[in-house]
Amino acid sequence: MSRKGESSLLLREFPDFAETMQGLAAMERMPKGVVEECREAVALARRFNRTVARNYALELDRRMQEDPTYLPWELVEEANRWGFFTMWIPKLFGGKGWSLSSIAPFVEELASECLAITNLIGVHYFGFSILAATWNVRLIDMISREVAEGERTGKPCLVSGAVTEPEAGTDAEEVELLARARVRCQARRVEGGYVVNGRKIFISNGHLSTWHILIAYEDLERPDETMIAFAVKNGTPGFSFGRMEKKMGQKGCPASELVFEDCFIPDEYMLVAASRLGEMGLLSRAARKANRGPRELGMQLIDFVVSATRPGVGAMGAGVARGAFELALQFARETEVGGKPLVNHEWAQCLLAEMYVNAALARLSYMEANYANSMHGMARLLGFKPLYYYHRALPTSVFDRFMPAANRRDAVTTAFRLLVMAGQGEEQERVASGWASLAKVAGTDLGVRNCQLALELMGQAGLRHDRRAEKCLRDAKLLQIYEGTNQLNRLNIFKCLVAPAAPEARAFED
């Protein structure tokens, strides 16, 4: 065997070289413009933190403690004025079309100031990601253009994602578990549409959103094979808001209950049904080739979403790790201990260095996951250099002239699904999903860790709301729970990244 051939065989041994080095592989494929976009996104977030978040974060948190039912519309409107709700919607659909790679650094930056504000902005893209993952181009286009219109008119139009149910949290994140889950949100087929019954809980931004991307199940006995997604607009008869949760932190971003009682949803608002994805001719053949039945297609939908959003949660972890570090550093500079500034005590320097390391590790993790998702995830087409530059160079107005009409055609949806869904290999799905979980676990554990360390260092000062550090800890804890608990994510890391080295292993079957 040639030396080259031997090398490539060696590199394919576990751990696969390409799999462990996402950044290296992405570097050569990544358009240079992405770097510039990341720089601009971070600068914009810093500007926002300085002019809005810094003064407002504590005030909002305090206000929510006083009145847990308060809805921070003024924040939604402010973020809308800053254009944050369309930045990462592709120009094809009327958005500003920033590179998806730039969202995570932006999120880290915002999160270094306030996680509640970050979540309120970021979770709109969670809703949008589920919408986008269905590749129902007609509805993506319609809803995106409403978001853009809301930005122009100053009447914010946000999108929420409704997945979690009272009895299905972890179960809703993985089809293996879904098969045994007690989900209750059912969509029954009727003439001209569906009737939905059930409740969704912990829905971030629920009360603040106009559109809700709802995950339901056609057959509650077989939820793993009958996942179905809808777009539900406020005012739809049978749909209402329930209670607002009283959370420990991230208080500025409401967590809502969504209630569906005999809620009729016409066919035109059905985004995708896993059981019927295979019915489309070409896709069916491609799906069979990729060995994906309804269940695997359901998992692919979940993976499309979480591969994009979990690195974002990791970035929130990196941000709060940094926020806590910065507060600790400031405290160490201001506080005199034993006749000299705390920052000049060797042990404090080591502690601050450790906190810096934690934030850096969190960042490295989400960047790797970001690279993995941009090469393998649902938006990988937009990373192709020619497409990227074409999309970037043309003004939105040009897209606006042609795209809405094209996007309404079913053929366009089919074409995109063929390219994106059928075009994604199992390996790609596995790698993107595994790295996303890794970034989520690493970033959020390190984030919470830094908050714990900051409070330990600051003692009494760290306990006070007016010193900010305690809020970091309260806010950060949620990161280890949403987008799949870190336990579910560890199992997913095993399934995606470890199990290839142990083919006999079965995940989720203990």
């Binding site: 305090r62 403690q65 006083e66 979690t164 009895e167 299905a168 949290g169 972890t170 179960d171 293996e176 578990l177 045994r180 889950a181 007690r182 809980i201 912990f202 949760e245 009283k246 959370k247 420990m248 932190g249 506080t335 005199e336 201990v337 042990w347 404090a348 502690l351 919470v448 714990q452 409070l455 330990e456 260092l457 600051m458 003692g459 009494q460 760290g462 306990l463 006070r464 709301h465 007016d466 305690e470 800890l473 309260r474 804890k477 949620l478 280890q480 729970i481 949403y482 608990t485 870190n486 336990q487 560890r490 199992l491 989720f508 203990d510």
Partner: protein
């Protein structure tokens, strides 16, 4: 528990009953303070049964119980609601400081109107306000320079400056305040909080122990009564820390127990993946690590408390080690305590998020943890033996 006397067992049972009866219902609403009323009724009842005077000598109206008694009470109370534990601890700390200062007279004055735990007074005859000398119990005054200064004028002292985070400063009628003196050291002064020159701030919104409020005090030449000798604040304080660190650990241990018990209950009921999550092996691993750390904390606290009361060799270091170890473990155990409940753990309904906040707050009792660690090892380096 080995070596626990019948009397202590009774006290433990009494504290347990009190906690279940008074601290479970309404916990969430009480924790909304300062946006909900202060739990004065609970404070009054705790005062009635003598929780605020456990360590006080009998001549000062206390029960002269051993530190073990205080630990048992704190553990049981904090299992349900650590806010009351914070109040009980602060009362014990300020009384211990008065005792260390050898000022029986001050102690009697500070404890006026308190009852012994064995003879509960009828409601209304005494107020917890009198029984609770406020104190900034989340700080070691030697850690950072003090803003509060005392100036002597013809044998009387006047205090000027800011006293931060004085626990129960808006509840008690008096505060025991550390203030710097001209020689660079610091002393303790009893200050009448309703007297002249005292400005009481709004309750400080804090991480945990919401119902055990703290306030910033601004003093403008407020009269203060020197407690013990001038410049010896640090000596009294460190002596009090020797004895009461283990009591701080007991409070954290109680929170750990509450968190574990709630997590176990939940894991038995919650079903994911078609089975009770208590049957997921990873959930068992987390539960086990919580249980082991909690049991270790209990043993540490009980061992150290017995050592303090018996003045066994190394008792002071035992007490301090217990606090550092248990307080940190409590922050980790309560974090897992939320995690096992997933999203529900993060919501106020299950009490787990409160325990997480309370545990982190309790870690700051008696001063910054890293500085307490350094003080611990300084004593060992200087020759104090941690074991025989």
């Amino acid at each position: 528990m080995i070596g626990m006397s019948e009397e202590l067992r009774l006290l433990e049972g009494m504290a347990r009953d009190f906690a279940l009866k008074e601290l479970v219902e309404g916990r969430e609403e009480r924790d909304r303070y300062p946006f909900a009323p202060l739990f004065e009724e609970v404070l009054a009842k705790a005062h009635e049964v003598g929780f605020f005077s456990i360590l006080s000598p009998e001549e000062a109206g206390g029960a002269a119980e051993p530190v073990q008694a205080l630990c048992l009470v704190l553990e049981e109370l904090c299992r349900e609601d650590a806010s009351l534990g914070g109040a009980v601890f602060t009362a014990a700390l300020s009384r211990e400081l008065l005792r260390q200062a050898g000022s029986e007279e001050d102690l009697k004055k500070a404890c006026a109107g308190t009852a012994s735990p064995r003879e509960a007074l009828p409601a209304g005859t005494a107020s917890p306000r009198e029984a609770l000398p406020a104190f900034p119990s989340f700080h070691n005054p030697s850690d950072t320079p003090l803003s509060l200064r005392a100036v002597e004028e013809g044998g009387a002292y006047r205090l000027t400056g800011k006293a931060e985070y004085v626990v129960l400063g808006n509840v008690a009628s008096r505060a025991l305040l550390p203030a710097g003196s001209a020689d660079g050291g610091w002393s303790l002064y009893l200050v009448d909080l309703r007297g002249e020159g005292v400005e009481i701030g709004e309750p400080v919104l804090s991480l945990g122990l919401h119902a055990c409020p703290a306030v910033d005090l601004l003093l403008h030449g407020a009269p203060g009564e020197l407690v013990g000798e001038e410049g010896k604040g640090e000596v009294y304080f460190e002596a009090a820390v020797d004895r009461l660190s283990v009591a701080a650990a007991a409070a954290s241990c109680g929170v750990m127990k509450g968190s574990f018990e709630t997590a176990l209950d939940y894991a038995r009921q919650r079903i994911q993946g078609g089975r009770e999550i208590v049957n997921w092996s990873e959930v068992r691993m987390i539960l086990s690590s919580m249980a082991v750390r909690t049991k270790a904390a209990e043993m540490l606290v009980r061992g150290a408390a017995a050592a303090v009361d018996a003045a066994s060799p190394g008792w002071a270091l035992a007490s301090r080690a217990a606090a550092l170890q248990v307080q940190e473990a409590a922050t980790e155990v309560t974090c897992d305590g939320i995690q096992l409940l997933g999203g529900n753990g993060y919501m106020q309904d299950y009490g787990q998020e409160k325990r997480f906040r309370d545990a982190k707050q309790l870690q700051a009792l008696l001063g910054m943890a890293p500085l307490r660690k350094l003080r611990y090892i300084r004593r060992v380096v200087d020759g104090e033996r941690p074991w025989a």
